[in-house]
């Protein structure tokens, strides 16, 4: 219950931040966020683990719409939004795992909490680094675009490989 509440808090925090900044895009972002919230409630109530990625994804799309509509300077809070989305998904998944009524030792719970904390910290650092690097005058051009596209393709390939293994 606590984990589900924390997951909801993470989702609510990001949604509130997105809505606060939305302005003209508020109806679209609000609708997407609402659907995401409903999905989150549904998956937490019905313990549907396969739905876990959808609320962060929908909220991410809402945030992306807000970014596109706003067209202002770089949002410095983006790393926090990213970590919020990750925590929403991970805490929801943990909450569903706890429904199995497996009596876990304290060390097991602590290990997962520490691992999640480490992942969140690392994610915050990486996301902040990305935002910081974007501010650096590293230049632009075809080479950077190719590097970016190659990394995106690499990640897609990884996704396909993992899907086949799973």
């Amino acid at each position: 219950m606590t984990l589900a509440a924390l997951s909801g808090c993470a989702f609510g925090g990001v949604l509130a931040y997105t809505l606060a900044r939305s302005g003209k895009a508020a109806p679209a972002t609000g609708a997407l966020g609402g659907v995401g919230a409903l999905l989150l409630v549904l998956l937490l109530v019905r313990a549907r683990a396969e739905l876990v990625p959808w609320p962060p994804a929908l909220l991410g799309v809402a945030y992306a719409i807000e970014l596109v509509v706003r067209t202002s300077h770089v949002d410095d809070a983006a790393p926090l939004v990213a970590v919020g989305l990750l925590l929403c998904g991970e805490l929801a998944a943990w909450s569903i795992d706890e429904r199995l009524h497996i009596a876990a030792e304290r060390a097991v719970v602590q290990a997962r909490a520490v691992a999640l904390g480490a992942l969140a910290s690392g994610s915050l650092a990486v996301a902040a680094l990305v935002v910081a690097l974007a501010a650096a005058p590293a230049g632009s051009g075809l080479a950077w675009t190719i590097v970016g596209a190659a990394s995106a393709v690499g990640v897609v390939g990884l996704a396909v490989g993992l899907a086949r293994r799973g």
């Binding site: 683990a49 876990v52 990625p53 962060p56 994804a57 991410g60 945030y63 992306a64 970014l67 596109v68 770089v74 949002d75 983006a78 790393p79 939004v81 990213a82 970590v83 989305l85 990750l86 998904g89 991970e90 998944a93 943990w94 795992d97 199995l100 497996i102 009596a103 876990a104 030792e105 060390a107 097991v108 290990a111 997962r112 520490v114 691992a115 999640l116 992942l119 969140a120 690392g122 994610s123 915050l124 990486v126 996301a127 902040a128 990305v130 935002v131 974007a134 675009t145 970016g148 596209a149 990394s151 995106a152 990640v155 897609v156 990884l158 996704a159 993992l162 899907a163 293994r165 799973g166």
Partner: protein, 422 residues
Amino acid sequence: MTQHVSPRLPAYVALAAAGLLAGLVLGRVELVALAAPFALAAVVAPALARPPQLRVALELDRDRALESEIVEATISLTAESAERVDVYLDLPPELSTASRNPRALALAAGEERTLEVPLRCERWGALVLGPPLLRARDRLGFYAWEARLGDRAALRVYPSVETLHALLVPLETQVFVGNQVSRTKGDGIEFADIRAWAPGDRTRRINWRATARRGELWVNEQSPERNTDVVLFLDTFTDAHSGGRGTLDLSVRAATSLAHRYLQRKDRVGLVSFGGFLSWLEPESGTRQLYRIVDSLLQMDIVLSFAARDVAVLPPRSLPPKALVVALTPLLDPRTGPALLDLRARGFDLAVVEVSPVPFVDAGGGELEQLSYRLWRLSREAMRARYLQAGVPVVEWIDGVPLNVPLEEVSTFRRYARPARA
């Protein structure tokens, strides 16, 4: 071990890819930052995931127990390293545990852990436990490996034995020495009768009081102590059960108690399971026979069959002459009645303990259901009347009533009724 990947992982990779592509297309670094945590999780999780090397052993502190006793199961776990191992001991319905099952624990490299699972034997049966189901997971639950490891452990739970104050006395005894006073006359301890002296009678058998009164020699006669043959005849065609108890359960308990008590008296006890699956044990005496019977009873189950059966299919040695046949039956299957009456017609000393299915049958709420229920009860009454007409004592044994009660009823019936010889 079978590896499972959480659906989160490919979804996270897809989210990361979508974020990166969107960031590239829209030229927004925030979207790349948004993708970064998911990309990090997707990279870190496979990199850190290691299939665990687990060794498991399952042991029980004993392989035989009585109902309601506690048996200690020990699961020993050794792992090269496992961040989280879920251990689940799949228990048959005859066993329960108050301890935590399943449970999750963390194992360091080379660490050996021992889990104690106290098992309460709720019901008799020949049970097989394990192997335990193990599921190792990485810390964030992206990868899981499942397997059943270790050996199985066999456990025989014997039905508890009811204390019986009196047993059914067979009408005829066998030729071997036992504890039952025979109705015949011969060398023994119990006084039977007196008769006129005949050449060859020993002088110490002369009844001097009767001799003085009658003016000629009279001698005492004794009844010898003999053993008896008892055949427990279980009807396993069908049973009625509800809430974990049923007529078969009661029959097995009664058969165990009777076998235990008759074998204590040095009688020979046999067993016939008359149902879809036919089995028998020829009458023998001794502790070994008790174990044979109980082991055989543990295997008892209802096997659905439409095959016609009668007692002719039983080998003659399973039903020796002059044996007391105690039938334990719910009188539900139409094949049982003719078989029992056939036994009676063949001259066997038969007593029927009807293990009542009534407590396990719901009478229903509707008018038609109530009517059907009453008709069913009446048909059972009629069936009992047929047995009584044939000189077969039949008594109803209801769940919760001590077995002594129906046995005493049979004894009372037999006190006043004698089987007619053809």
